[in-house]
């Protein structure tokens, strides 16, 4: 056996023992760096190209003029600074937030179905936002606030239902995670009915507003909204970094994690709160852009070969930027000028991916 030879050989022991690890880590880092580069390229494409094209020198002239209060280029300055740039910034941030939220849930519950858009948290946001639009005639920031409240409220309900003694302790194995998913699916169905009810009752113009919001759209992107989102992420991202270590241990299952000194209940609660908050602020900013949270983690995993939070965040940003570019610039060419909400594209991508994931996952587990 080869084991005995490596056992005798003392040089295998110390310095170059991890010969394989750096290689794998490097692969992960390379792939992550590649994803970051894709985000930068897509960001640039969505700002510079599309229905209104800006050259790179013009872009910097506009940016510098805007920052220093210098001379503006008529038309171009407004389109870039008030439309394209905030749109791309918000797209990147919500993509990353959805991607992280999904990956946190999926990794914690070790189930690719456990993303906030599948387990009803996005529906909580939708139901609250549609209520605000249809019943109270709200718009803008009030809708965002309602969405945020709805997402957090529903998350609390799902957590309370599923925790019935087991999520907080370590209970028996994975029951807690499955209960959370099932509770979420149930709540999602109920809230779906609420949304449909409100939509049928609303007059046609209000319903159209609500529908755009429901599909997730970057059309109303603004610097105010980008600022609020950036502030929220500035709080949440350090929390993700702090939780990443315990999450790696929690991946081994609740029992093994408890044996390694993780306080399973408290860590799970912190993860749920962080992930829900990420999904909620992103939803408040742009509506429930469907399937981004669900898709980002598994795609990142297939691409880098390993569950990786940074890669999931980057994949989320890639999906949103690419889908928004298609929705805002390519779709009008095919559909006689109709600009689609970004969520239509991500939804169209998500459904086949879900099926593909189910088919391949079953094959692997069998």
């Amino acid at each position: 056996m080869t084991i005995t030879t490596s056992r005798v050989n003392p040089s295998a022991g110390t310095p170059n023992a991890g010969s394989g690890r750096p290689r794998r880590t490097r692969l992960l880092l390379n792939r992550t760096a590649f994803l970051a580069a894709v985000v930068v390229v897509l960001f640039a494409v969505s700002v510079l190209l599309g229905s209104y094209t800006v050259t790179i020198p013009d872009f910097f002239r506009i940016l510098i003029a805007h920052l220093t209060g210098g001379e503006k280029i008529p038309g171009a300055s407004f389109i870039v600074m008030e439309n394209k740039l905030p749109r791309a910034v918000i797209g990147t941030m919500i993509g990353a937030a959805f991607g992280l939220a999904g990956a946190l849930f999926q990794t914690m519950l070790r189930n690719p179905l456990a993303s906030p858009d599948v387990i009803g948290i996005s529906y909580g946001a939708s139901a609250a936002a549609v209520t605000a639009i249809v019943v109270f005639g709200a718009s803008g920031a009030a809708v965002s606030a309602a969405a945020l409240g709805g997402a957090l409220g529903v998350a609390a309900i799902i957590y309370a239902i599923s925790s019935g003694g087991t999520l907080r302790g370590t209970g028996r194995g994975d029951a807690a995670g499955n209960r959370l998913i099932l509770a979420g699916v149930g709540i999602a169905a109920a809230l779906h009915a609420v949304v449909n009810f409100l939509m049928t009752r609303a007059d046609i113009r209000t319903a159209a507003d609500a529908l755009v919001w429901l599909n997730g759209s970057l059309n109303s992107a603004s610097w105010d909204r980008a600022g609020v989102l950036a502030l929220a992420l500035a709080v949440l991202l350090p929390a993700v970094v702090a939780l990443a270590g315990p999450l790696r241990i929690l991946e081994l299952g609740p029992d093994a994690a408890a044996g390694l000194g993780i306080r399973v209940g408290a860590t799970r609660l912190a993860l749920v709160v962080t992930a829900v908050a990420l999904a909620a602020v992103a939803t408040a900013a742009a509506g429930p852009v469907s399937f981004v949270a669900f898709l980002a983690g598994p795609i990142a995993r297939r691409f880098t070969g390993k569950a990786s939070l940074p890669a999931s965040a980057l994949v989320g940003a890639v999906i949103v930027l690419a889908a928004d570019y298609v929705a805002a610039n390519l779709a009008p060419l095919l559909l006689d000028g109709t600009v689609l909400p970004v969520g239509v594209i991500t939804g169209a991508l998500g459904a086949p991916f879900l099926l593909w994931l189910l088919v391949t996952a079953n094959r692997k587990d069998a």
Binding site: M1, I3, G165, G245, I249, D255, A256, G259, G261
Partner: protein, 271 residues
């Protein structure tokens, strides 16, 4: 070294009482096997001993201190646990998985230290998984995978190690291999080991002390020679048997007597 003690321990799932007022000691530096019929509470006892289950009454102490009063990580530096169904994340390598056993030894702003590297290396060598170190855990056979999980528990470098049915789903050769490995650990490092084991014959061979349980209570404690008798097998498992000296190790060997494949005179003897 550390002594693990259960005193008047009552453990419940929801309202169902599984272990009731149990007292037991896991003797220091020994291999202890916890045996009993299905659903007798032996795995539950192990969960109670390892803080996975908070006692409804009574206490588990480690060197006299209640394990529920210790910080989780501090406890995990002394008391290790290999649960029955740990799960390996997709795409994780053996070395990475074993490295996660170092978690309780690392600080908040931790960096991977020389000590961590040494502990992982020792664990890989001890479990003869060094050659597999860069392989994916999903690619391994059941026996190899179990060795890797034990390596992770070894990397944790605890004085006490609890294992919940570590030989389940393994073929006979791998069962023996795992128990040999655990015995090595006990003999070489002096680790206190407690194992919940289904196979009474292997338990009798590998145990220094046997704790036999029935209906959530301890019915017998002692060395296998004292404890494992025909009477114990009858009372704990409700099974008639002959107990003979194991021709290999001299420890008790249980020969079960069922309704078939038994000569007539043996049946008469039983009845």
């Amino acid at each position: 070294m550390a002594v693990l003690n259960a005193k008047d321990l009552t453990l419940k799932y929801d309202q169902r009482c599984v272990v009731d007022g149990l007292s037991a000691e896991i003797p220091e530096g020994k291999v202890t096997m916890i045996v009993g019929a299905n659903a007798c509470g032996k795995s539950t006892l192990l969960r109670g001993l390892s803080r996975l289950l908070k006692p409804a009454a009574g206490a588990v102490t480690l060197d006299g201190k209640d394990i529920h009063s210790l910080p989780a990580r501090e406890l995990a530096r002394t008391l290790g646990l290999l649960p029955q169904h740990p799960s390996a994340p997709d795409g994780i390598t053996v070395r990475d998985l074993v490295g996660r056993g170092r978690y309780p030894h690392q600080g908040f702003f931790r960096s991977w230290s020389e000590r961590d590297e040494t502990a992982v290396q020792r664990a890989l060598e001890a479990t003869e998984t060094l050659a597999l170190a860069e392989r994916n855990v999903d690619e391994l056979s059941g026996g190899q995978r179990q060795r890797v999980w034990i390596a992770m528990a070894l990397a944790q470098e605890t004085d006490v190690l609890l294992l919940d049915e570590p030989t389940t789903y393994l073929d006979l050769a791998h069962q023996v291999e795992v128990l040999d490995l655990v015995t090595d650990l006990n003999r070489q490092r002096g680790t206190t080991v407690a194992i919940v084991l289904h196979d009474l014959n292997l338990a009798a061979r590998y145990a220094d002390t046997v704790i036999a349980m029935k209906d959530g209570a301890v019915v017998a404690v002692g060395s296998p020679l004292e404890v494992v008798t025909e009477g114990l097998v009858r009372s704990v498992f409700g099974l008639e048997s002959r107990v003979i000296p194991d021709p290999v190790s001299g420890t008790p060997l249980i020969i079960p007597i069922g309704r078939h494949h038994v000569p007539a005179n043996e049946l008469e003897l039983v009845s």
